[in-house]
Symmetry: none
Subunit: 173 residues, 2 copies
Amino acid sequence: MRVVPELPRKDHGGRNLSTFLSTYSNKVDRKGRVSVPAAYRAALSGASFQGVIAYPSLTDLAIESFGREMLERMNQERLSRSMEGGAFEEVLLGGGNDSVVETVMAMAHELPFDGEGRIILPAALCEHAGIDDRAVFVGRGSRFQIWAPEPYAKRQADEVAKFRQRLNGGGAS
Amino acid sequence: MRVVPELPRKDHGGRNLSTFLSTYSNKVDRKGRVSVPAAYRAALSGASFQGVIAYPSLTDLAIESFGREMLERMNQERLSRSMEGGAFEEVLLGGGNDSVVETVMAMAHELPFDGEGRIILPAALCEHAGIDDRAVFVGRGSRFQIWAPEPYAKRQADEVAKFRQRLNGGGAS
DNA sequence: TGGGTATATATGGGTGTCAATGGGAACAGA
DNA sequence: TCTGTTCCCATTGACACCCATATATACCCA
């Protein structure tokens, strides 16, 4: 498939916005490399940093991921607020252990694309997600996740079952 | 890993902004030298002062750190606030005994990079953080921390546990 | 509409280069 | 002279970059 380099879209604030769609299962080679789906790469093609940010999900056995812009934006917003609000203690000491942003920053990895559009999955992340030799990329809109095949299949089935039950009180036909 | 010299990014005020990401554990050699992670150095590569500012955290057994630009920006912001607010006493006599900024300034060290991108951790800081022969660099967005391995592992686990509980009232599924 | 060809994606592997680290020589201050 | 600091060079292991291949599909042309 040939994927078109995707024109950058803007959100309300005039910032770039990438959308990740669909699910892909790719091979992890013996060096720990895995191809990021071309469609995802196309969504990030306008970004200054060619690669992704990845961190362990706090709720799932999966890796959470998005473009660097997302982090950058959170970081800037946070710092500006503190500075302009005169909250210098926050700048110097941090938000204490109450800040999700700071926790995620510490666990996040910057994964640049190689010439072929692959990334290297750090051992810590693979371990968290139980990823061995296959990685499933799951588009979640402004984010995507990376799962090991089996846990994802299970999770997917659970999600579907749950919604089916909620929507029509039992099996769709 | 080869780290790209990182293009300087600007925040709202048109100032440079560096983002510190990820966690790295580096060796402290017998001379007290530690390599600052290449990614952090890249984030500071545009700065006029090649090195970092470091001071003991007032809330954790850790060292807090960032580039000199951050200090200057904070000072400037603080000064303008005082001036514009007509708080000339503060400018001339200091913010009184409750000024975190001034307390931190006094405890801060300027640590220049050597040719290999290492810094020397002052004994006082090492002692405060309990650092012996390993230093863990923890990215917190606009700043980073330096911890001894064991206390950081504990702290990290605490943070994650707390957010997990807040998010779904229990462990990952 | 069908077939053929070009191209991009996903993948595998080799190698030069850089980051992290260690040690020694030059140097300054006490 | 002795101690501590700064600069320089050597080592090694990881990985960034290069090239090479197969498969699928987009596109062209008859």
